[in-house]
Symmetry: D2
Subunit: 419 residues, 4 copies
């Protein structure tokens, strides 16, 4: 039973943007909804606070911040003569508010594997559809924008593109909370220079330097924060302990867990369910998913320290007490031989089964491209109406590098083996 | 098994203070200890993020911030000719680092009642004593300072007094994270004006205005943040749901819980245990306590939504989904009659036993005095050596009011009854 | 010949408020006017940069900042249901833009004496009246507000009262530029809590703590910046050198000066001219005054270092090279005897005429009251409509002290005499 | 007569860096010296405040800021094991303090032409040499560093190189005061990553992203601030009016001027004087130069508005009242024909001699390269000791573009002609 609040607070203090106004009752009611409140319990940057202790901010705050920037963007675009109706303004605001609603705990970490065959975009869609039913169709236009079927294409770009309100908020917020002040971007200034040309977002030419700086700041945040070595090491430790837990679960072993976590540990979902939103399995998936957050994982790991499985116990102890593994990064894959040797050492040192050493010595790869040409591009509009891609408009940024995916390989192993 | 880290990182990014240097290996090793790492999982301001979503910072960050300020204070005091030996510097830094080590989840909320007969100062002491054993006596001087038996009294004041590094950090940090920028205090400036006179901390006379502003900012933080109506309402909702859980536990009913939480739900401790640090009961208390954090409470509340006890279920649902109760504040106690009537309404509305209405309609009181004369006072030192209490030195601040405890009474009840 | 600008830039970068929008063409044209441009050459805080080197900001910036805050205040007041027509909004904005137009160089310093019988309010009035003629009557409503004859009294309060946009800007700006971060006030928050009750500005009750902090911050700025000892010493050194210059001028001695400065050095104005705005003398007064700024004084002082009058030469050398005099402050007047002795010493040391020692050894007094009851008071409005004076509403601030003028006496003399 | 100050204040408030400590008595005495105090009267960014009103900061503040950063850099480099003796520390600090001592008013503007045959580096040298005599040889090592003859080359690099304390302060300070927050650089972080390798400054490899951002921020500041169109237009208006004044002076016409300005208007200096520091002409040059600042130029322009020469009068009126000329920028020179036509129009419109139209219609060029390979390069040092140029180490920045000078041509003419 969800009881409706009567006293609708309209202004929220935000350390990043100052005062945030909640624009209208629908947005207010969505924020109050338990499914949105869940985002209070999901950290925006997962385990990054292991390295940057300040980074404990949540997806809840981020979503509110993105709503705030959306309000600014709507105002600027309207002031330049492009029409956005009040309905459209509400819809695009709902879309940005709910863009992360389908994220689970430690989302980037758990993306691959934990919930088989279902990704967070699909979860977002299904949850938004269910909310639309509950809110009697008031979210239909927002869903159209979200699914990119609404005629005004630029509205979708405000929600998801190279310069969407999502990025403009999270880059600023993440640099604020990590204390990596160099990552701060001029969201306000970029938004002030947004225009709509031929139904697409573009940036006024005098904004080129701001965009260059935005791209460089983003790149800096990637290498200094998002893909920080110790953060990666922590995240993969979590991946490993969950893989082990799922392995034990699949063998039928009993594991302490909250009911929601238990549901996902012990259930697998059929291929194709992503496209079949009417599948009855969704009922229990959503019910459990909307109660699942960072805390379920964290308390279980604490309890599993005392599990009889030595592998699980060791991984959990290292994770909970932040005993991170040594990590090496390089631009090419690590040799199988090196990995094999380390596994042998681990096997000897901890007296493990050889098969279980893969949880302690592992190599994977990560990729990042600062400015993907696959995504929609950042367009610069000149006074005479000419439009150019930023990669072409900027003479200083290296187009080839900017657009190229940077892939790095890493190798982790316990510090005890480090020499 | 706690394995020693080899790669000792020395600088930590902090959004509040910038770069924080970890001063020395002992401090580093204490920070790495699982018992200190636990503070990462305890929010500094408990449920305040229900009102100020940015306030998700932890006791871990706060302790590091206080260490940073301690380093500044030591430098300033030494530069003014007062000796602090290297050992004393390390000891007072250890003392400030560990000053909150005994805090449990939602500490202020749970202080009364949850762990019977044991308060957080005692827990801090016992934990520090155990750490001292583990670290082979290296914490002895810190313990002496902490227990105020070390000869140089001013060292204790740096850890605990009206102007200790604890307050100077938390006021600044809390205002930073809540976004209540008006609460920001000039820690740097206050520290620059610290002096030691007759073995006591004092502030140079030209710092009077800064101290006035510090007191006013602190008062503002009290009423705007620490004792914010909605924060109080949330905290007491949590108190109520835990009281109910303990009541059910005492009746022998089964409740989902992590092992650590279970330990405290189902055990009571003898009177006098606080003074008896050698009591064997401490062994299991500390083992469980050092694994207990905010998450244990939060996940249990989520699970208890589906508990068969209607009272517990309702309280947990309201708590998890942030359906806060209406709260009224006044300067005198609420009439029993009014409370009785509201309880009757609740009873009728929710079809409860009359005895259980006390969980939904309740009145308690809170108190705050900005500048307690019971505590050590803030001393102002003039050029000619004269020393005055700030309440005497400042002509603008109202001595009587400053020193007087402000007590407020509040009454909570479900919004459904609000008119 | 003043040629009209065609390209009307609309947004100005401001380090304090971010982007400032110029609201409309009339405001733009007034800013472009040479008489307003003059404010670029008048430092907001006169000689304060002798102590706080960062404080080089000008009255020009301050006036733009106040316009920015006025826009916020208008928006907030309208949003609470109080009508402000577009004409009124423009008029009150013009009034705040021009509120300092009559300030001369080092205004507070030169207020008494330099331009006999004319104060800056009168100059502002006369200049605004002349602008009104030039702008064909478009400033009439602004003048009515300025002169407090416009029916809606609260508009005048936005321009001049305890919480006017003038103070809200200058306190924030002065603390920003001096680097006295403790003086920062929450202008945004205070403006958000403004209301109009019975045609008067009032602050919502929940804003009490912000107002308390505003008053304390203001007091801090007074004693730490505006009345800083060394700033006083510098300002009175300037007063002394100008007095000497005027004395020489009145004796008919030739002094290097720009034509505008020469005009004021060698002319005196009749009593009563303040009330006689049609007096033909105003023509030349305004023509010269609108070309006079800080630079005229500063370059003259540099040249006068080589003047044959030893007194003027010494004063100018000390001023230009920032060789400030020793200053003592106390709460009661200095004894004539002490002053006399110091003068004798100065006379002997520098071999001066006794009559001239008054330029090197002098005592005056300054006063400040943080919250004058003579001014309009700050009103707090409660939810039930009750209105209280802040001094009554706040229990912590000492009414008697707040409202009482604090007068301090100071004594200056060359450092060479200091013991 | 310069009288020595006795009360040596040691801490200065700076809005950019917080508290600045004056390190030692020699630095203190140099700051107190009239020749250094003159920098209070020279704006760091000349006429930039015409566009960014906040940019009124002075070379005085900047020099103190650079001293502050030098202190940090010395500390970091020492902490990494490289010896810097106390004498060297003082010398390199003196060198950075005085690096701008030879700058005249509006230095970049006046560089070419105003003081014939003498540039500001030479003036700095001569002034420092004279100070060295006055301070009895205490500046000798600083001079050696300044002239790059001191053995430890990296000390010179701290004063003048791609990453010297000069740039690290001015970029941060200029972006702070203009309000162009995007130009803010992480001085603190860059300094933390400085190392000395083979007697040269280098940056740790993990600092690559910070350096990339530094270069991008610098580029942004160039195009957005230093070479802003309206700033250029204002600066060249000033160049024109001074050229006209000098032309009139060379014809023997009388011009209002302070004695110092008069000296430079009516005197020309022999070729070769730059290398002949013992030339007796230096005596009067330095005496007058050290009394010359922005104000001398500004007040003269005000007075010259009423000069009988129509060209000078018009230029001064436009300058003082900020009636800036229209400016066009392009990548190639403007056609003589176009310039000729505009001059004809000006001639007709203002009824000028054809020869005088060059003051109102003119075209020049400006150049900037973000990272000159002619200058010393930024070196990146890897863990294994390898050293790379940043242009090589960074894959994203375009080497060719970075190192290439960007030359732009501009054309100015009165707005009246604009179409």
């Amino acid at each position: 039973m969800y009881r409706q609040s009567r006293n609708k607070r309209k202004i929220i203090n935000d350390p990043v943007h100052g005062f945030i106004n909640i624009p209208g009752e629908l947005i207010f009611d969505l924020i109050e909804h338990p499914w949105f409140q869940r985002l209070r319990r999901i950290k925006q940057l997962g385990l990054t606070h292991f390295v940057y202790p300040g980074a404990t901010h949540t997806r809840f705050q981020h979503a509110l911040g993105a709503v705030h920037l959306m309000g600014q963007a709507i105002g600027i675009i309207r002031s330049k003569g492009m029409e956005i109706t009040d309905e459209e303004a509400e819809a695009v605001t709902v879309a940005i508010l709910l863009h992360d609603i389908g994220h689970g705990p430690f989302s980037h970490t758990l993306e691959s594997g934990f919930i088989e065959n279902i990704n967070h975009e699909v979860l977002s869609s299904v949850i938004m559809e269910k909310l639309n039913v509950e809110f009697k169709g008031k979210l239909s236009m927002a869903l159209d924008i979200f699914h990119n079927v609404y005629p005004k294409k630029f509205l979708r770009q405000l929600v998801s593109s190279q310069l969407d309100m999502d990025r403009l908020d999270y880059l600023k917020r993440d640099s604020f909370y990590t204390g990596v002040t160099e990552g701060v971007i001029g969201s306000d200034r970029i938004i002030k220079m947004l225009e709509v040309v031929d139904d697409e977002l573009a940036v006024e030419a005098k904004g080129i330097y701001s965009i260059e700086k935005f791209l460089i700041a983003r790149r800096l945040m990637y290498w200094q924060v998002y893909l920080h070595k110790s953060v990666l090491s922590a995240e993969y430790l979590l991946v490993m302990l969950l893989r082990r837990a799922m392995e034990l679960a699949s063998r039928g072993e009993k594991l302490f867990a909250t009911p929601s976590l238990e549901f996902f540990l012990y259930n697998r979902f059929p291929e194709g369910i992503e496209k079949d939103h009417l599948n009855p399995a969704w009922e229990s998936i959503i019910r459990n998913f909307t109660l699942l957050d960072d805390d379920d994982i964290l308390v279980s790991a604490k309890v599993w320290i005392n599990h009889s499985d030595k592998v699980l116990s060791m991984l959990c102890s290292d994770f909970v007490n932040r005993n991170l593994y040594k990590i090496q990064l390089q631009n090419y894959p690590f040799e199988e031989e090196r990995i094999g040797e380390l596994r042998k050492e681990v096997q000897a040192f901890y007296k493990l089964d050889m098969a279980d050493t893969k949880y302690f010595v592992f190599s994977e790869s990560i990729a990042n491209n600062t400015y993907s040409t696959a995504d929609e591009r950042i367009k610069i509009v000149y006074r005479d109406g000419t439009i150019k891609d930023i990669a072409e408009a900027s003479d200083i940024l290296n187009l080839a590098v900017l657009s190229k995916e940077v892939r790095k390989y890493f190798l982790c192993y316990p510090k005890e083996l480090a020499r």
